[in-house]
Structures are given as structure tokens and as C-alpha cells.
């Protein structure tokens, strides 16, 4: 099976080859955009992301085997252009959570867990909206798109150390007042799963 890098090289000569790249990554990019901008805006943003990627395919760094960070980096910039839409979306998330209507993948336990989660999301949404654009990109590439910090660095064209610094700042900003201990818990969790040791 071709790597993303090989597909992008092929698309230099045979643009239609780009379809395979779309098929590989559209689901993840669409989900990232939908969860940032809402379903209504996601479709156009998805098209725009891949069209920019196609036009910029000559600038893809072939040292990267996967194009996913690159595509999500473009998607983040596309989302950033729709600032008002994103702000509306986070308000809608907050409102839905306040009504207990938030949708999750089922990873939260029943009853008490759902109520806790709803409360947490209701509190989180405005804080996410209030982050600086770079911080928000970093957080959402990490939490929504599942990129590792080194991939986020690729996506945003920054150093991995900067990503770690931003994540640390973001934790402070998202944490409820007086929750110093919970911040330590998150850091500890990442150290436990090895990502921090491997990539820091």
C-alpha cells in the first residue's frame, strides 16, 4: 500500500491520485472540523481543507510518512478563518450540555458520570472558546484529532517543546478554580502512558 507521501508525489503528475489521500483522512478531518465548527460549516471547511492541501501538495514535507498532521494543520487554519462560527458552536455546545443533550461516544459512564460530564463540558466550552487561537488549535488537535505532541508540532509548524508548554498552559486555563491536584493528575497520566517520556 502506498504511503501518503507516495500518493502526494503521484498527485504531482496525476492529480486524480489525490482522491486516495482524501479517502484515507476525510473522516478524521471532517470529525475535527465538525466538532470545532458544527455540522453545517464542516462540509465546506472539509472541501476547503483538501483543496488547499491539493494546491499546496508541492510543499508537503516528504520526510513525513503520514499526511494526517499536515492535513489537520491546514484544517486548523481553515477553522481559524471561521472564528465567529466556531464561537457560536462552542456556545451551542455549552447550551446543549446545560440541557443534558451533549453527545459523546459512550465513553462516559452512566448516570452520575453523564451528569458530571455534562457539567464539565458546560464549564469547558466557554473556556475553550476563550483560549488564544494557537492554544485552541493545540488543544483540539490533541484532544479531538488525537495527534501526539510531535505531530501537533508538525501540523502547526512549531517546536514540540512549544506544544508541551502550550498544553501545560491550557490545562491551567481549563481547570476549574482551585483544582491544582487534578492538573497534577493529568500530567501524571501522560507520564504513565509513556507519551511524555517518549516525546518530551
Amino acid at each position: 500500500m502506498s504511503t501518503d507521501s507516495e500518493i502526494i508525489r503521484d498527485a504531482e503528475q496525476t492529480p486524480q491520485a489525490f482522491a486516495e489521500l482524501f479517502d484515507r483522512h476525510a473522516v478524521v478531518v471532517e470529525s475535527f472540523l465538525r466538532r470545532r465548527l458544527g455540522a453545517d460549516a464542516a462540509e465546506d471547511a472539509l472541501s476547503e481543507t483538501f483543496l488547499i492541501a491539493f494546491r499546496r501538495r508541492g510543499s508537503f514535507n516528504h520526510a513525513w510518512e503520514s499526511a494526517r498532521p499536515w492535513l489537520l494543520g491546514i484544517a486548523a487554519r481553515v477553522a481559524a478563518k471561521h472564528r465567529a462560527t466556531e464561537a457560536r458552536h462552542w456556545r451551542a455546545v455549552e447550551a446543549s450540555a446545560s440541557r443534558g443533550e451533549f453527545t459523546t461516544g459512550g465513553g462516559i459512564d452512566e448516570a452520575t458520570g453523564r451528569l458530571d460530564a455534562a457539567a464539565a463540558i458546560q464549564a469547558l466550552a466557554p473556556r475553550i472558546a476563550a483560549l488564544s487561537p494557537k492554544e485552541r488549535d493545540t488543544l483540539l488537535l490533541y484532544a479531538l484529532a488525537g495527534l501526539a505532541p510531535d505531530e501537533i508540532a508538525q501540523a502547526l509548524g512549531t517546536r514540540v517543546g512549544t506544544v508541551w508548554s502550550r498544553l501545560h498552559r491550557i490545562r491551567k486555563k481549563l481547570a476549574p478554580a482551585g483544582s491544582h491536584s487534578s492538573r497534577l493528575t493529568w500530567i501524571g497520566k501522560e507520564l504513565d502512558d509513556g507519551s511524555a517520556r517518549a516525546r518530551a
Binding site: A19, D23, S31, A39, D44, S59, R77, G107, A143, W186
Partner: protein, 379 residues
């Protein structure tokens, strides 16, 4: 559960409508990709009037790309004396000056009305994607064909450093459908799936000073070996940055065009490109006159007919191999000899198969009208 995990949970449930959204976006992207494929071979906007037709025009124009890339034309004959005389007279008219004179606040409106054939392959893709059906069709496999007509306007202000406006809002009409009766429905499906490719309600584009707004560059990563982004502006009148240095001697100018259009042997491309350049009256008059004389230097160009002040020049390109479009491409330019302007461009394949559509239908055609108007639509 920590805060970051809560963020991960936000709207993480599968969305049943996502598949349809992705499919529509895919259609739009691949339609544009196909158009870009055509642009790569043909310079940017040589067929600029078709840009809004997206995949349809790509399907139509792909034919010539195949011909140009795969087959070398046979040895050419010089242009006929009659053709050389027509372009010489037209050049004289340009030099003596018949350009419209604009008052402050007025605009030059360049209206292109184009007709294009789009082939439809019922089996393309998995048979359910209307855009794939139009983008992937070939003359040999197509079950149907649609002749569509569209209009596109360009408004050039009296002061050319002002805002130019490109109006792509016109609706593409279906002029004729051939072949499988399902073709009409498929075309309607295409328009519904990608309306922005047909009639774009937001299709008013401002070009400051005639320059396209560049898409913001992606920031290269540290250490990236990526090619440096292009820094030059890109203008509607593509060769504007070169006007001062383009030769006025016709033979030298022909060499210049061959070089800058990246075509050493496909003079049919030079022929059509000059048609496009002269259709808009945007080049300096002496350069337009020289460009007209270049047409008289190209091989296999002859006078195909005269209608009032309009004379049609035809350039026949014979290919050494038979393709699905036959072995011949005929490019035509209508020259208004009273003004020296190009008012029509056509491209046809007289030896193509007629099993799907009758002979004589041009594969693509443009008619160009230039007029002075008091205002331009603004976004």
C-alpha cells in the same frame, strides 16, 4: 475523569450524516482537482471562462490534454496567404486605434458566453456518484453527453489599478442532451451535488488591480525542504508583468509564446491562447498587433469563412495517431476585422466518433463581447 478527557468526549458520537457530507465534499474536491489537472497542462486561465464549470469543463477539455500530451502533430504547412492577409489587416486596425475610451467610473465589461460538451459515464465511480460520472467519462465509454451554456463577465474599471470584478453568478443552461435518457437526471444531480460549480450565488470576485487574491500560504515547518512559495502576483491578464519585455517582432514573439506557454510543438495551443489574450483587449495595442501577426506565422492556418466584418481562421492539427477523438483537431478564431478583436473561439474534432452525438458540434466554444457599462456588481 480529567478535563482533557472531557474535551475528547465533546460531540464524539458518530454522526450519521457525516458520510453524506464527506461524499459531497469529495465530489467538490475532485471536481476542482480535475480542473487543476487541465490547468497544469494548459497554463492557468487560457480557458479561464470555464473555471466556474468545474468538473464539467474538465471533462470537456480533457480531450485536448490527452491529444497534446500523447501525440505529436505531423509536419505543418505554412499559413495560407489569405490568412496572413487577414491578420495583417486586423493588426493595422489595432494599431490605428479603435479601443473603446472609458470615462472615470465606467467599466469595460468583457462577457464570455461559452458552450461545452460534458460526457457522462453511467458506470464511473460506483455508479452512484454524479460527479464521478461526469469527471471520469471518455468518448468511448460515455453513455450520454450534455451541451451546456454559461456566461461569465469581467468588469475592468477605467482606472485599471482599481477593483476588477469577476461575475460567475450566471446559471449554466442545458442546451442539448444526447444518448442515455438518464443523462439529464445525472446532470441535474451533478448541479445539485455541487451547485457552486454551476451557478455560484456568491460568485462575485474582486480582483484588486486585476490581481487574484493569493490563498494564505501554509507555514512550512522548521527544517522543511519544501519549495519556497511563489511570491509574484498573479493577474487576470496573465502576461501583464511581461508586456514591456515581450518582443514586438512577430517571429520573436512566436518564440516567446512557445517558451512561456511551455509548448514547443503544439502550436494549436499558441493559436488558442492568443485568441484568449486578444479577446479581452487588455494588452497594449502594439503587442496585440504583433500577436495577430503571429497567427499568420503558424502552420496550417487558413480562412474558413467570412460573415460581415467577421472572418474565421481555422487551424487544423493532424495527429499521427488515432485517438478516441479521431486524428484531427480544428481550432477556430473569429476575428472582427473592423476592430482587430477576437470575438469567437471554437475547438472541434471533426473525425471523432459520432455514435453518441452528431458531427459538427464544437467540443468547446466561446463568444466574447466587449462593451462599456456605468457600473459593476459588487459583492
Amino acid at each position: 475523569m480529567d478535563q482533557l478527557e472531557h474535551v475528547r468526549e465533546i460531540e464524539s458520537a458518530p454522526d450519521a450524516a457525516a458520510t453524506a457530507r464527506i461524499a459531497r465534499a469529495r465530489g467538490r474536491v475532485m471536481s476542482e482537482v480535475s480542473t487543476s489537472a487541465r490547468r497544469r497542462h494548459r497554463m492557468r486561465w487560457v480557458w479561464g471562462g470555464t473555471a466556474t464549470v468545474g468538473g464539467l469543463s474538465a471533462a470537456a477539455i480533457a480531450a485536448t490534454v490527452i491529444l497534446a500530451g500523447a501525440v505529436a502533430p505531423v509536419v505543418t504547412q505554412p499559413a495560407s496567404a489569405a490568412a496572413a492577409e487577414v491578420v495583417s489587416e486586423a493588426a493595422e486596425m489595432v494599431v490605428t486605434g479603435t479601443d473603446p475610451s472609458l470615462q472615470p467610473g465606467e467599466y469595460l465589461r468583457v462577457r464570455e458566453t461559452y458552450e461545452l460538451v460534458a460526457l457522462w459515464d453511467a458506470d464511473a465511480g460506483d455508479g452512484t456518484d454524479p460527479i464521478a460520472g461526469f469527471n471520469m467519462a471518455s468518448l468511448l465509454t460515455a453513455e450520454g453527453a450534455v451541451l451546456q451554456r454559461g456566461v461569465r463577465d469581467l468588469y475592468v474599471p477605467a482606472e485599471r489599478s482599481g477593483d476588477w470584478v469577476q461575475d460567475d453568478r450566471g446559471v449554466n443552461d442545458v442546451v442539448q442532451v444526447w444518448g442515455d435518457p438518464r443523462t439529464a437526471d445525472a446532470f441535474a444531480g451533478l448541479v445539485a451535488a455541487a451547485p457552486a460549480r454551476d451557478a455560484d450565488p456568491d460568485g462575485l470576485t474582486v480582483l484588486p488591480g486585476g490581481a487574484y487574491q493569493r490563498t494564505p500560504q501554509e507555514t512550512p515547518s522548521p527544517g522543511s525542504t519544501a519549495a519556497a512559495p511563489q511570491s509574484a502576483e498573479e493577474f487576470y491578464d496573465l502576461f501583464r508583468p511581461f508586456y514591456d519585455v515581450m518582443p514586438r517582432d512577430p517571429q520573436q514573439l512566436l518564440d516567446w509564446y512557445r517558451d512561456h506557454l511551455q509548448t514547443s510543438s503544439d502550436d494549436w495551443y499558441v493559436f488558442q491562447a492568443i485568441g484568449r489574450l486578444l479577446g479581452t483587449d487588455l494588452m497594449p495595442a502594439d503587442l496585440r498587433a504583433a500577436s495577430l501577426r503571429v497567427l499568420g506565422l503558424l502552420g496550417n492556418v487558413d480562412v474558413a469563412g467570412t460573415n460581415g466584418t467577421v472572418t474565421t481562421l481555422a487551424m487544423t492539427t493532424q495527429f499521427t495517431e488515432e485517438t478516441e477523438f479521431g486524428d484531427q483537431l480544428v481550432s477556430e478564431l473569429d476575428i472582427d476585422t473592423s476592430t482587430g478583436r477576437i470575438v469567437g473561439i471554437r475547438e472541434g474534432y471533426p473525425h471523432r466518433s459520432t455514435s453518441l452525438m452528431p458531427a459538427g458540434v464544437p467540443w468547446a466554444s466561446w463568444s466574447i463581447e466587449v462593451s462599456i457599462v456605468d457600473s459593476a456588481p459588487m459583492p
